[in-house]
């Protein structure tokens, strides 16, 4: 017992199993528990429905097997388009992220105004979900993969901008100070000392982005922003469950391949 402020000596022996909560904490527990109960009701959670759904799920799986091979070429094309969206979106997003991240790095930014604007832009791009961006771009540039690619670009700026800035902030200051002492300009400083130091982290973040973009480009199709998602939606809507199964398997394969390859590159490059 080290609490010297305690007026009376602490009772010897075991401490109680449970601390008695303060009145405020007790009230908070009650409120949270009540809100949870209310939310259970609000979301219609019901064990009966859950178990009642089993036969239906069984029927669905039955209809999915064996997966259909009828539209393999269309599924393949949609899958390729999905990956192309992810790839182009990531590359363009990463390229745009670098200068924005430089502005969002405290010691590299030319002026605090740029710093705060870049930070605000990055958080805005990050906090609005990519599906919302896709909806907006579908309206502005029309249905199709271009809208989805734009959504991925914006999402990548929000993601990479933040992590690139962090990596540059953490880069060793010694070489940077040496180049300042030589009289190098800020741009030279960024190119010669900061980016080389942050490069492994940039590559890692970009590869991770590509994996993330591959998964999200599947979903973007659901709102008509190109890619395989629309095929899946149509197959489900038309009750072509065997075709849906093929599409799900194809998506699964694509995501696995992208993850594996990016893992391999990561190990080779870093």
């Amino acid at each position: 017992m080290t609490d010297l402020a305690q007026p009376s000596p602490a009772p010897r022996g075991l401490p109680p199993r449970f601390e008695r909560p303060s009145l405020g904490a007790f009230a908070a527990y009650i409120v949270v528990a009540l809100f949870f109960a209310w939310s259970l009701h609000g979301t219609g959670v019901s064990l009966g429905d859950f178990f009642g759904g089993f036969p239906q799920m069984g029927r669905l799986i039955g209809e999915m097997l064996p997966p259909s091979t009828a539209r393999l070429d269309a599924v393949g094309r949609a899958l390729l388009e999905t990956f192309q969206m992810a790839f182009v979106g990531t590359v363009v997003g990463v390229l745009i992220s670098v200068p924005i991240a430089v502005l969002a790095t405290r010691h590299l930014t030319p002026h605090p105004v740029f710093y705060h604007s870049a930070r605000a832009l990055i958080s805005f791009f990050r906090t609005v979900p990519d599906l919302v961006w896709a909806l907006l771009f579908v309206v502005s540039v029309g249905l199709g993969p271009f809208a989805g690619t734009l959504a991925i670009v914006v999402d990548k700026i929000g993601f990479c901008g933040r992590f690139f800035a962090e990596a540059m902030e953490e880069a060793d200051r010694g070489p940077q100070e040496a180049l300042s002492a030589i009289g190098a300009s800020k741009l030279s400083l960024v190119m010669c000392a900061v980016i080389p130091a942050a490069l492994p982290s940039f590559i890692n973040t970009s590869l991770f982005s590509l994996e993330k973009a591959t998964r999200s480009s599947v979903i973007l199709g659901l709102v008509g922003a190109g890619g395989i998602g629309i095929e899946l939606k149509v197959a489900m809507d038309l009750f072509n469950y065997d075709e849906a199964a093929t599409i799900i398997l194809a998506i699964f394969a694509l995501v696995i391949v992208v993850e594996r390859v990016s893992d391999l590159l990561r190990r080779r490059i870093l």
């Binding site: 040496a178 300042s180 030589i182 009289g183 010669c192 000392a193 130091a197």
Partner: protein, 290 residues
């Protein structure tokens, strides 16, 4: 113990000179030139004139507490003092890598306080700075690191990487590496070099600047005694052969005496000794630390 410099020590005479204007500084220099080792460059304005330099990082302690000294062109000056005495702060303040609170610094004839960002960069380009930690960019080759010494005087982007530099610059960078005996590691990544090699590449990078003045903050403190000795000798030889001015800090008192014309000792931000190294020995300097 008394910390005032012995009589006859050159700078003692103008520590009480109150006039800090240019005329005063050059008058003071004129009287000093008669005592200082004379070489052919001594006729020009001193390379570094520091007057009343003050700096504190917090309210309680003055890291630099009114520092005055002058370094004439071509002279080698060693700056010694205990840990935290303010040596690094002094060197950085001279280049305005940190902003001093008060005082004047004239570097290569320019008033440091009046310089705009661009002029400051141009001035820094003429001063080689060697750090205790070599501060090379680890993932770039030795040659590229040396090329960076030419950053301020070349077209933007040309010396960023050796692959895009013009032949004349690549040749010059290789020549600088050869002068520190490292022509054979030009292509090697900086993080694959030994400590001694890295420090020599850092010296080559400073030579690439074609500097008039070299500033070095404990240039060999991170090296083992034998490579430290070797690098320090190489460095001092290069400086002497090029006729450069040198200001370096060191905790190695024998280096200070052997490689400098003059030793300045700093204690809690003030100069407590300023004497030609020929009048000093390790024991007298050692006594300053007690």
């Amino acid at each position: 113990m008394t910390m005032e410099p012995a009589s006859g020590v050159p700078l003692a005479m103008f520590r009480d000179a109150t006039s800090l204007d240019e005329a005063g500084a050059s008058r003071a220099f004129a009287s000093q030139a008669a005592i200082m080792p004379v070489n052919e460059k001594a006729a020009r304005e001193p390379d570094l004139v520091v007057r009343g330099l003050r700096k504190s990082f917090d309210k309680t302690t003055r890291v630099l507490d009114g520092v005055d000294f002058t370094v004439p062109a071509g002279q080698s000056v060693a700056l010694i003092g205990a840990n935290g005495a303010g040596k690094s702060t002094l060197l950085r303040s001279c280049l305005r890598l940190i902003e001093p609170d008060a005082g004047d610094v004239r570097l290569l004839g320019r008033d440091m306080r009046s310089l705009k960002a661009r002029e400051l960069r141009e001035l820094r380009a003429e001063i080689g700075f060697v750090f205790q930690k070599h501060n090379l960019v680890p993932r770039l080759s030795a040659l590229t690191n040396v090329l960076h010494g030419a950053l301020p005087r070349s077209a933007l982007a040309r010396p960023w990487f050796q692959s895009c530099a013009p032949k004349s610059l690549r040749d010059e960078a290789l020549a600088c590496l050869e002068r520190v005996g490292l022509g054979h590691v030009a292509a090697r990544r900086a993080d694959k070099l030994s400590g001694g090699q890295s420090q020599r590449v850092a010296i080559a990078r400073a030579l690439m600047q074609r500097p008039r003045l070299m500033v070095a903050d404990e240039p060999v403190a991170s090296l083992d005694p034998s490579s430290g000795e070797e690098v320090m000798r190489l460095f001092a030889d290069l400086i002497r052969r090029e006729g450069l001015t040198l200001l370096f800090t060191s905790h190695d008192l024998s280096h200070a005496i052997a490689y400098a014309d003059r030793v300045i000792a700093l204690r809690r931000g003030s100069i407590v000794l300023d004497a030609p190294s020929s009048e000093l020995n390790v024991a007298t300097l050692r006594a300053l630390y007690d």
